[in-house]
Amino acid sequence: MEQKIHPKIKEYQEKQEESKVEVPKANLVTLKIKKYNPNKDSSSSYQNYQVPVEKWTTVLDALLDVKQNLDHSIGVRYSCRQAACGSCGMKINGKPKLACFTKISELDSTEITLEPMDNFPITRDLVVDFSRLFANHKKIMPYIMNNESEISNGTKEFLQDPKHVEEYIQFAGCIKCGLCNSACPTMAMDSSFVGPQALAQAYRYVADNRDKGKDNRLKVIDESHGIWRCHFAGSCSQVCPKGVDPAMGIQLLRGYLLGFRD
């Protein structure tokens, strides 16, 4: 395939020819993007795109620049551009990160490899299928279970003091971006494993003093591909962009099953 040149780079080159001005090399990066369409391709391939960047350019900005100017066929999912929606998770230079939350300048590299997140089926290029993640999330019943809810009798209000909020608020920050599942060593092999995302969410609800569904949730995760397949490698917490710290939630949750918490 013929390599297109970014219009801005073309402009620089023309200027350089005219006035002998040096093209500032540090402002150019190459995005090496893994391309694969499971419906069409038998295997994946990498495509290089050179783009000009500024020190505030994020990986997502650069990707959208490539889409706009060089190759609009690249598959990428994004929405909020501010690490709130969890859509643009991908492997950036080998590690799962949010493209909108990663500045090119902090990667300290002129070649940036972008690949789809591991441990998720590929939809196309950098877009992965979240069905399994959402199914596991649903499995742990991610809602307050309490028969005396305000919905059922219209009068009951749940009061909660700040101390109780502190118990779970960090885990409520999960944006379901899937980076934790992508970094997890168990997920790398075990497709039945419920995963750090769902387990951290199980803790989020078990730790909520308004919730009465602890026993039901513990039953769901206490099986051969449940919580016990977490070995506290901590990779999930290393890559979490929101400070959820799934590894902490999982260990605290396991404390209930081992009888150290009630």
Binding site: M189, D190, S224, W228
Partner: protein, 114 residues
């Protein structure tokens, strides 16, 4: 059996084995390293009832812990109900055979059937 019970056994056998293996090793350090391995010294050890019981306990604890650890690793390598059942029963069988084989050595040596 619920996985939490299996894993409680896993942690329990680990802690038990650490304590007993420490005694097993410390007893060897009380005499010269090379002397402690002579045939007569080892037979004498086996023929002390307390020590034989200690060895039997270590044998059971480490076999249970080790084969359950192997089961966990194998369960994560591949999935499927046939494979998982095979792994579980295979590990139980391995554990039973190892305990039986080791027990035979302990009992026969302890009773002087050598």
């Amino acid at each position: 059996m619920r996985e939490s019970i299996v894993m409680k056994i896993h942690y329990g056998t680990a802690l038990g084995a650490v304590a007993l293996v420490a005694i097993h090793i410390l007893m060897r350090l009380t005499v010269d390293f090379h002397e402690s391995l002579t045939y007569d010294a080892v037979v004498a050890n086996y023929q002390m009832l307390g020590y034989a019981l200690l060895l039997e306990l270590i044998l059971i604890l480490i076999s249970v812990h080790g084969f359950n650890g192997l089961r966990v690793i194998l369960l994560e390598l591949r999935q499927g109900s046939g494979y998982e059942k095979g792994v579980t029963y295979g590990c139980i069988a391995g554990m039973v055979v190892l305990i039986a084989y080791g027990t035979r050595t302990i009992i026969m040596t302890n009773m002087g059937m050598i």
